[in-house]
């Protein structure tokens, strides 16, 4: 048990909270690239 939760619950709930942080990092990396490609024309097919 970790913080009153079985480890499997603790692990998965932790990732619910950590995912937005990781996604924020990805957003900071991706957003400038995306705006560059958007300025160049964008749109895939």
């Amino acid at each position: 048990m970790v913080l009153g939760l079985p480890f499997n619950f603790f692990w998965l709930i932790s990732w619910l909270l950590l995912t937005p942080l990781c996604m924020w990092g990805a957003y900071r990396l991706e957003a400038p690239r995306a705006s560059d490609s958007h300025n160049e024309g964008g749109g895939t097919p």
């Binding site: 996604m23 924020w24 964008g42």
Partner: protein, 469 residues
């Protein structure tokens, strides 16, 4: 005052407020096809978040999550496994889909396939598969709505009239206000759902056990096997968990209604930022699990696990609070149902009827046909929900596995130039066929793996092989 009158008054006020918001959102706006389906592509961060949350967190959150925790135990954790991952997938796919949608003025998922693969039969087939698999999901919302109102009104309203009234309201505001109305009803629905989940999820363990930790300690002592795989099941083990998490994580945003919601965003950056904040909403899921797990000790032997949360609330809280939960639950069924009806009607009119049967239809005629189809789909779903059988759940599982088969066509369509139309067409047909065959022959899971995941592997193999020929 009788408990059922108090609860009923709360449910009526909340549903009426939702209906008013839905109708009001569409007033003073010209409801042409573009506005009706994709809200003129002008939704900002907040409306997109509400709309997406409105579609992701459905009656399954309200009843199914606690029901699975109650009836199945640890396998319910697959929900916590796929939710963070599906937002990662959406971060990379939805902005790209939006870019294509803006460039070619797309309104539906089948439009995407039409533009990318330039084949109206593939687009019509994608639309057909989408509509076929939306219907059981719609049925689930209806059945859930009926159960919620029946229990929350202490049986004063039977589930059939509840379903009829609820869905006539939904059809009316979908017709009047389109996707904008649905997004604004989500404001009320999400506030109530968040409040209900947080309050009930924390209060129930505290009231009965003195906290969440003591509740788990009691559960470990009483039912230790319930908290580890395969829980109370015999065949949902670790390989089922991994394959299901992978299938749903990649397949979740393949539901046709999410494409429409994505096209309504005003920029691709809105969708990226949405993917960053959406996981916070998932915190409602473990709270629902806590209620279901508490119910395994407090209310053992319920005939229907899906009612465990509502039964716990009815046992624990006063009538007005049960009415509040009932009203929130009713909106939780009505909002996603509205999007599903809107999407299915548009797919039918725009991507099946116009290209295949009446190529000369104008946009106005498509809009008129789609609005007529709203009523037909509502009545069809009502009929099947009223006369539904236990096979409904298996139909829903077929739905998840079915729409997941669009994933190779979408992701390879966005990121690969070598994928071909015949490859994608053959892949979807193979995937759907394999999945339906495994479901109908009751081979899900097969060798411990989710049948939808096996079908998706076949799908990818066929897409690759045919495209490289």
């Amino acid at each position: 005052v009788n408990s059922n009158v108090v609860a009923l008054a709360f449910i009526s006020v909340i549903v009426s407020a939702g209906a008013f918001i839905g109708f009001y959102a569409g007033t003073r706006r010209k409801m042409d096809l573009e506005h009706w389906i994709v809200g003129d592509r002008g939704f900002g961060m907040l409306l997109v978040w509400l709309l997406m949350a409105g579609e992701v967190y459905t009656t399954f959150t309200f009843l199914g999550a606690s029901g699975w925790a109650y009836g199945k135990g640890a396998p319910v954790l697959y929900i916590l496994g796929y939710q963070p991952l599906m937002y990662v997938v959406s971060f990379f796919i939805l902005p790209q889909v939006w870019e294509v949608g803006r460039k070619y003025r797309l309104q539906t998922q089948a439009d995407f396939f039409q533009v990318r693969y330039n084949n109206k039969y593939l687009a019509a087939f994608v639309a057909l598969v989408g509509v076929v698999f939306i219907i059981p999901y719609l049925q689930l919302q209806l059945t859930g709505l009926g159960m919620i109102v029946e229990v929350a009104s202490y049986g004063a309203i039977h589930r059939t009239p509840a379903m009829i009234i609820g869905f006539l309201i939904v059809a009316a505001f979908v017709l009047t206000s389109g996707i904008r109305g649905i997004a604004w009803v989500s404001v009320l629905k999400d506030l109530l759902l968040l409040f209900s989940a947080v309050f009930v999820g924390i209060a129930v363990p505290y009231i009965y056990f003195g906290g969440i930790g003591p509740m788990f300690a009691a559960l470990v002592r009483a039912k230790p096997a319930h908290l580890v795989m395969p829980g109370a099941t015999t065949n949902l083990g670790h390989s089922w968990y991994v394959s299901t998490v992978l299938l749903v994580a990649v397949g979740f945003y393949m539901w046709p209604q999410f494409f429409g919601a994505s096209f309504s965003a005003k920029s691709s950056d809105t969708l990226r930022r949405n993917a960053v904040v959406m996981p916070f909403y998932s915190i409602t899921m473990p709270l629902m699990f806590f209620v279901g797990l508490a119910a395994t000790l407090i209310l053992p032997g319920l005939p229907n696990g899906d009612l465990s949360m509502l039964t716990m609330v009815r046992k624990t809280f006063p009538a007005w609070f049960l009415g509040l939960i009932g009203g929130a639950g009713a909106l939780t069924a009505m909002v996603p149902a509205g999007v599903m009806i809107l999407t299915a009607a548009t797919l039918f009119a725009k991507n099946m009827c116009r290209p295949i049967l009446w190529p000369g239809m104008t946009d106005q005629q498509v809009a008129k046909l789609a609005k007529t189809t709203v009523l037909v789909i509502t009545v069809a779903a009502l009929y099947s929900a009223i006369y539904s059988s236990p096979t409904l759940v298996s139909l829903l599982l077929v739905g998840y596995g079915g729409v997941g088969q669009f994933f190779p066509g979408v992701v390879l369509g966005l990121y690969s130039r070598r994928v071909t139309m015949p490859g994608v067409f053959a892949g979807i047909v193979t995937g759907v066929f394999v999945f339906v065959a495994l479901e109908l022959t009751k081979h899900d899971p097969l060798m411990g793996l989710n049948a939808g995941f096996i079908a998706l592997c076949f799908n990818f193999a066929v897409v690759g092989a045919v495209s490289l020929l």
